[in-house]
C-alpha cells in the first residue's frame, strides 16, 4: 500500500470538495433576490426581519459569512433550513437512506443485467440478436426517464394496479427498524416501478461499455488461445472475456453511483419517492437556500467521493497499473 499516494489523493479530493463548496456558496449568495423572501411572512415587522437576518448570519459581510460557512462545514454542520426550521443535516438524514436504497437496488440489478447482455452482445456481434438488442438498448437509453416512469405508472399502477404508484411504503405502515422495512415485501412493491425506470435507464451504460470492452478483449490473444485449447463457449465468454472486460465497467460503476445520486431528481419526483433529489427540487422551489445548498453539497460530496473511489479502484483493478513498469 502506498500511503503517501492515498493521502495525496484524499487531499486532492478534499480540495475538490472545498472548491465545489465555495462555488456553491457564492452561487447561492450572489444570486438576485432576498434569501429570506420565502420565509418572511407579510406580518413580519422590520425588527423581526432583522432579527431573522441575524439569526441566519445574513447581516455579516460576505467574507465573514463564507468563513463561518466553511467553518461549519468542517464541523459537519450544514445550517438551518429556512423552511422546516430544522437542521439541514437532520432533514437530510430522513431522506438520504431512501435515495440510497433505491439507487443501490437499481444499480446492482442494472449492472448485473447490463454486464450480462453486454457480454452476449459482444459475443454475438453482427447477429440479429445483437442488432435488435442494441437498438432496444439505445431506445431505453434515449427515452426521457420521466416519460418512461409515467408510462409505467399509467400501465402498471393505475391501469393494472399491480404496483403502488409512489412513496416508499404503504399508507400508515409501521416498521420498528430500518431492517424490518428493508425486508418487507411492501417496500419492494413500492420500489418496483421507480427502480424499473431507473434500471431501464442505467442498464445502457454497463451494457454498452461491457460490450465494447468485451469486443476489445475478445480480440486479445489469450482469448484466441483459450479457443485453441478447445474450451467451451461460456467458459471463454465469462472466465476469459467478461472477467477481463469487467474491470473498467466496475470503475464506471463507482462513478455511476455518484452520478445516479445526482440524477435521481426526476425519478424521485415522478414516483413521489422521498429522497434527496426531490428534497433538493423542493428546496430550490421554496428558495430554502440552506437546505438546497446542503442537499447539493451532500450530492456533490457523494459524487466526489465516488469519483475518488473509482480512481482507487482503477488503480487496484487495472492490471496495467498494478503491473507497474512492465509492458
Amino acid at each position: 500500500m502506498n500511503w503517501m499516494y492515498l493521502i495525496k489523493r484524499i487531499g486532492q479530493m478534499l480540495l475538490t470538495l472545498w472548491v465545489v463548496a465555495t462555488i456553491l456558496f457564492f452561487i447561492f449568495r450572489l444570486m438576485p433576490g432576498n434569501p429570506l423572501a420565502a420565509y418572511i411572512d407579510p406580518t413580519f415587522t422590520k425588527e423581526q426581519e432583522e432579527q431573522l437576518m441575524r439569526q441566519f448570519g445574513l447581516d455579516k459581510s460576505l467574507m465573514e459569512q463564507y468563513l463561518i460557512y466553511i467553518g461549519n462545514l468542517f464541523k459537519g454542520e450544514l445550517g438551518q433550513s429556512f423552511f422546516y426550521k430544522d437542521s439541514v443535516s437532520s432533514i437530510m438524514m430522513n431522506v438520504l437512506p431512501n435515495t440510497i436504497y433505491l439507487m443501490l437496488f437499481s444499480f446492482v440489478i442494472a449492472y448485473v443485467v447490463g454486464i450480462l447482455f453486454g457480454v452476449l452482445f459482444a459475443w454475438y456481434r453482427g447477429t440479429k440478436f445483437e442488432a435488435i438488442g442494441l437498438v432496444a438498448t439505445l431506445i431505453t437509453r434515449s427515452a426521457p426517464q420521466f416519460w418512461v416512469g409515467m408510462v409505467l405508472l399509467a400501465i402498471f399502477s393505475f391501469n393494472f394496479n399491480w404496483f403502488p404508484s409512489g412513496g416508499v411504503s404503504g399508507a400508515g405502515s409501521e416498521f420498528a427498524t430500518e431492517w424490518e422495512k428493508l425486508t418487507s415485501l411492501d417496500f419492494y412493491k413500492h420500489m418496483a416501478l421507480p427502480s424499473i425506470t431507473l434500471i431501464i435507464y442505467l442498464l445502457g451504460l454497463p451494457l454498452l461499455l461491457m460490450r465494447s470492452n468485451m469486443l476489445d478483449v475478445l480480440g486479445d490473444t489469450f482469448v484466441e488461445m483459450a479457443k485453441m485449447r478447445g474450451l467451451g463457449k461460456y467458459r471463454i465468454m465469462f472466465k476469459y472475456g467478461a472477467r477481463n472486460a469487467a474491470l473498467p465497467v466496475l470503475t464506471a460503476m463507482a462513478v455511476g453511483i455518484g452520478y445516479t445520486i445526482g440524477g435521481n431528481v426526476i425519478i424521485e419526483s415522478v414516483f413521489s419517492w422521498p429522497g434527496i433529489g426531490r428534497l433538493l427540487v423542493n428546496a430550490v422551489t421554496a428558495s430554502d437556500y440552506p437546505l438546497a445548498q446542503g442537499a447539493f453539497l451532500v450530492i456533490a460530496g457523494f459524487m466526489i467521493f465516488m469519483n475518488f473511489i473509482a480512481d482507487l479502484l482503477y488503480g487496484l483493478l487495472d492490471p496495467k497499473v498494478s503491473v507497474g513498469g512492465g509492458k
Binding site: M1, N2, G325, K327
Partner: protein, 335 residues
C-alpha cells in the same frame, strides 16, 4: 564553429530517469533509470550502432540526443554547443534542422492525413527554406535519391497507399530533406518485411555515406549493426558495457554480456548449431538496480567485487573500452 576536435556529438554521463506514476499499490517507487550515465562521442561523418536487449535504454538515448526527452542529468554537446540546458528559440531551431530522427515504424511516422508531398514539405516550411518552387524541386530530388521513381506517382499519395518499404524511404527522405548533419535511426527496418529490409538498409548505407552524415543506428540486431556501423556500443540496463569498432567488438568481445549477445544471434547457416549461452536468468530491472555491477546476477563469472563495485569503462585495446572487472581474463578465455 570549428572546434579543436572533430567530434560532432559528445555525451558525458547522460542520464534519464523516469519517475513512475503513483498508484495505490506502490509496487515500484524507485525511479526507472532508463539511461543511467552514458558517455560517448561520435566523430563527424561516422556511424555508430547501439545494441542491447529490449528495454536497456537504446530508444531513450536516441530521444535524448534529439531532445525529445529532457535529460535528467549529464551533458550533451552537439557541434561543441552544450544542449542539455535551456536553449533559445534560435538555437533550438538550428538544432532541429541539423539533427533528425528516423522512426522504427514507417506506418506511424507520417501523418496519415498528409500527402507524401505535404509531409516532405513540412520541414522545409518550418525552417523557411526556399520558395514554393524550390521546395518542390527539392522534394523531387529527395524522392529520386531514395529511389522512389517515378516521383510523380508518389507525390500525392497518402501514406496508407504505400508499402512499408516505400514508406520507410519516404521517412528517410523526410529526415534528410533539410540537409541535417546528424541522424538517429531507431530500429529503422524492424517493422519491415525481410525481403524489403535489405533494400532500405542498402539505401541508408549509400545515402549516409554520400551525405557524410553522422549517424546513430539503434537496433537489437547485431547483424544489422555490423552491416551499417563503424563503431558499436553495447548497452545493458541503461549503461554502456562495451564499446569500440564494430569488427573489434564482434570478433573480440570482452564483456560477458556482449559475448552472450553475439553467440545468441542465430545464423542462417543450418550447419551451425545453437551454442549454449553462458547466462543466468535475471531479476534486475531498470527501477531496481543493485549496488556493484548491473550484470552481476546474470554473469557466470561474477565474484565478490562485482557485488560491491561498479566497474568503469576502461580501455581494452585501441578505441575499445569495456566495463568489467575481469574483462582481460574473460576476453582472454574466449581466445
Amino acid at each position: 564553429m570549428e572546434q579543436g576536435n572533430n567530434d560532432l556529438i559528445e555525451v558525458s554521463d547522460l542520464k534519464k530517469w523516469f519517475y513512475p506514476k503513483q498508484s495505490l499499490i506502490a509496487r515500484k517507487k524507485n525511479p526507472l533509470r532508463a539511461v543511467d550515465g552514458v558517455s560517448f562521442s561520435i566523430k563527424k561523418g561516422s556511424s555508430i550502432g547501439i545494441a542491447g536487449e529490449s528495454g536497456c535504454g537504446k530508444t531513450t538515448t536516441g530521444k535524448l540526443l534529439l531532445k525529445l526527452h529532457e535529460a535528467t542529468d549529464g551533458s550533451f554537446k552537439f557541434n561543441g554547443v552544450e544542449l542539455n540546458e535551456h536553449l533559445t528559440r534560435e538555437q533550438m531551431r538550428d538544432f532541429r534542422r541539423k539533427a533528425q530522427l528516423m522512426f522504427q515504424n514507417p506506418f506511424e511516422a507520417l501523418n496519415p492525413r498528409y500527402t507524401i508531398y505535404k509531409s516532405l514539405e513540412e520541414p522545409l516550411i518550418i525552417h523557411d527554406l526556399g520558395t514554393k518552387e524550390d521546395r518542390k524541386s527539392r522534394i523531387i530530388e529527395m524522392l529520386e535519391q531514395v529511389h522512389l521513381k517515378p516521383v510523380d506517382s508518389y507525390l500525392y499519395k497518402f501514406p496508407h497507399q504505400l508499402s512499408g518499404g516505400q514508406l520507410q524511404r519516404v521517412v528517410l527522405a523526410r529526415s534528410l530533406i533539410v540537409n541535417p548533419l546528424f541522424l538517429v535511426a531507431d530500429e529503422p527496418v524492424s517493422m519491415l518485411d525481410v525481403s524489403v529490409r535489405a533494400g532500405v538498409l542498402n539505401l541508408m548505407r549509400e545515402i549516409t555515406e554520400k551525405m557524410q552524415l553522422t549517424t546513430i543506428y539503434i537496433s537489437h540486431d547485431l547483424s544489422l549493426i555490423k552491416y551499417l556501423c563503424d563503431e558499436t556500443v553495447i548497452m545493458y540496463l541503461g549503461s554502456i558495457v562495451e564499446k569500440g569498432p564494430t569488427d573489434e567488438i564482434l570478433m573480440r568481445p570482452k564483456h560477458p554480456y556482449t559475448m552472450a549477445l553475439i553467440s545468441a544471434v542465430p545464423s542462417t547457416d543450418p550447419t551451425i548449431e545453437l551454442k549454449e549461452l553462458n547466462l543466468k536468468d535475471s531479476i534486475t530491472s531498470a527501477d531496481n538496480i543493485p549496488r556493484g555491477c548491473k550484470f552481476q546476477d546474470r554473469c557466470p563469472y561474477a565474484q565478490e567485487i562485482c557485488l560491491n563495485l561498479e566497474p568503469k569503462l576502461e580501455y581494452a585495446g585501441t578505441n575499445h573500452t569495456v566495463a568489467c572487472h575481469f574483462a582481460e581474463e574473460i576476453g582472454g578465455m574466449k581466445e
